[in-house]
């Protein structure tokens, strides 16, 4: 688990969150979901509904199951009990449904996981070409559009190994966006970055939030949570312990565990 690097909310681009509408249509429904690793009960009876347009930040101590939770949403991890319904498709062992959900849900990893044998542009066009059957020319246009958006169009013909961590993570975001996902999952996107690169990635994510993308983000960046989230979820021991809107969550935490956690990560 990486050290949290709290970025002050005031350093980030301000977002007018009141302008962002949360629809009352659900994007993700998790109902009574449990997951075990062997005998170990990692996720215990999770109930969570994410509405379209929501920006949710999930936090919690290491080992609390937050990464596992969002990895269940695109079935990188299999759940053993309960239901997960993503954009109207229930995740079962049916491979077709899984591939469908995965192509609608973008995911950004802690370690970027760019494909080192492909150029930045090829990283971005691969899935649109092979999954969406987009013609190559068009896929490249889309890719350049999103690479421009994350502010690295000039790196398109380099290989991932030639880029800095922050740049790689922005490429990873662009790569997901090229699939035109309805939901974006972020699994500790800034934990593997040097402090000076965290901000460029957070700014990219904030921009994305400002456009109304439904996103769930596992992160320790409480500044980010305060700036963009409409809901903060605190997890511990595989359970959702507390959730609230950011202002209440940070200023007036209800549970003792949350208070302890917040004092540990904010109080230095």
């Amino acid at each position: 688990m990486a050290e949290p690097h709290p970025v002050d909310a005031s350093e980030l681009e301000p977002v007018d969150t009141s302008r962002l509408k949360v629809s009352d249509e659900p994007a993700i429904q998790i109902i009574g979901m449990s997951k075990w690793y062997g005998q170990f009960h990692v996720l215990r009876d999770i109930n969570l509904t994410v509405y379209k347009g929501e920006r949710i930040v999930v936090c919690g101590p290491s080992g609390s199951g937050k990464s596992t939770l969002i990895r269940c949403i695109n079935r990188l991890e299999e759940h053993q009990k309960g239901q997960i319904i993503v954009d109207g498709v229930e995740l079962t062992s049916d491979l077709k449904n899984i591939d469908k959900v995965r192509s609608e849900v973008g995911m950004v990893f802690q370690h970027f996981n760019l494909f080192p044998h492909l150029t930045i542009l090829e990283n971005c066009t691969l899935a649109p070409i092979w999954v969406r059957k987009t013609p190559k020319r068009e896929a490249e246009e889309i890719a350049m559009h999103f690479l421009t958006k994350v502010k690295i169009p000039e790196q398109a013909h380099k290989y991932p190994g030639q880029l800095s961590g922050g740049q790689q993570q922005r490429v990873a975001i662009a790569r997901s966006l090229c699939m035109r996902p309805k939901i974006m999952l972020f699994d500790e996107p800034t934990s593997a970055l040097d402090p000076e690169m965290i901000k460029e990635v957070l700014d990219t994510m904030i921009e994305l939030a400002a456009e109304g993308m439904t996103m769930i983000c596992v992160t320790h960046e409480m500044g980010f949570a305060q700036a963009v989230a409409n809901r903060v979820i605190f997890m511990d021991q595989g359970q959702i312990v507390e959730q609230n809107e950011p202002k209440e969550f940070f200023n007036n935490p209800k549970s003792e565990r949350t208070k302890l956690f917040l004092s540990q990560i904010l109080g230095h």
């Binding site: 990188l76 591939d99 494909f115 044998h117 691969l126 290989y159 997901s176 699939m179």
Partner: protein, 433 residues
Amino acid sequence: MAEVAFVRHEMEPPQAPPSGQVGPARWLRENLFSSWLNALLTIASVALLWWLVSHMLPWFAHGVWNAGSLTECRQIIQATWGEGASGACFAVIRERWQQFLFGFYPVHLYWRPTLTFFLLLAALAPVLVSELPRRLLWFSAAFPGLCYWLLWGGSLWVPIAIYAGFVVGHLAQRLLAAAGYGLVAPFAAALATVLWWLYLVGPVADAFASVVPLALTPVASKLFGGFMLSTVIGMTGIAFSLPLGVLLALGRRSDMFIVKALSIGFIEFIRGVPLITLLLVATFLLNVFLPPGTNFDIILRVIIMVTLFAAAYMAETIRGGLAALPRGQYEAADALGLDYWKSMRLIIMPQALKISIPSIVGNFISLFKDTTLVAIIGLLDPLGLVTSIRADSNWNGIVWELYGFVALLFLLCCYGMSQYSRYLERKLRTDRR
């Protein structure tokens, strides 16, 4: 305490390095005489090299290229260089080099293997050098059939009918997939292809041949020999063991229990049995299991065994490459919605194969050298030929020249492969970190 404050007012201009720190003098000192031990080793190695060369050089220099027998060679050497002089008798190579290349292939048909060899180079070029136009790969795909026809002769319709099997399989898959049986389509396609090969290739080829013959003089497998035989077995083995190895490696890592168990069983069995045993089984035992009357070509049997043998090793090599990939690569491919085969083909295999290039080429090299084992089952590969040449009373007693020649040819091929592997590694090195 000493003064800690320091400010530089003038910047130093760059200077040339002191003499003795550049050029050959520096190289010599760093690489050959860096320490007493190194200097000692250098001198000892040079002395050893000198000793070897000074003994071998006269042998080469006294070499005789024109003679009809070993005795004649010796007479010529003694007449020219005096009593007791030793020299090579290269005359045997001059007399037999065609045999070393073609075995007992009919002399008037030598143009066929020669042409095949140059076509092989043309077919390999687009596979080995990715800068060439991709359309040339169609020739590479057609080459095996062409090669078979040119070397063994007979009707051109046979290889064409065999290729048609793929078309049949493809059509079967398209039809079934269109009819909504997508899941069974690949299996049905494979079945259709096999059935076509088993029952229809013969009649179809005969039917076409009766209209337009397109036939070459057939040449029997027992006439094949020399480097032609090594190349046929080696190249076919190489070409088929890589894809088979990839499938076995994937099978071994599969989630499906049966597939996994079969792959492990196959790999461990093949790796646990010496190649010679497999070759002997191919020669003597395989016919017992086949329906009576079937005459399964001996070279084909050997090729199958060599391929299976190499594939098992290849699978383990590739599995190493797969294991070396970070899990994040699999997850990223999954998260983008790529299905299993696409993620293997586009993301995982290119990287796993790249990691394993040195060991894969190592496998190729050892497979190519292992083709000499077929001498044991009586095929006349270069080593088999050496034995038969030495049995000739003219050349009885000749050793160094023959084995040296065979070694040289193998060395050239294998060195070529290892150089190619280094070129490929350099070319594919994109993940500088």
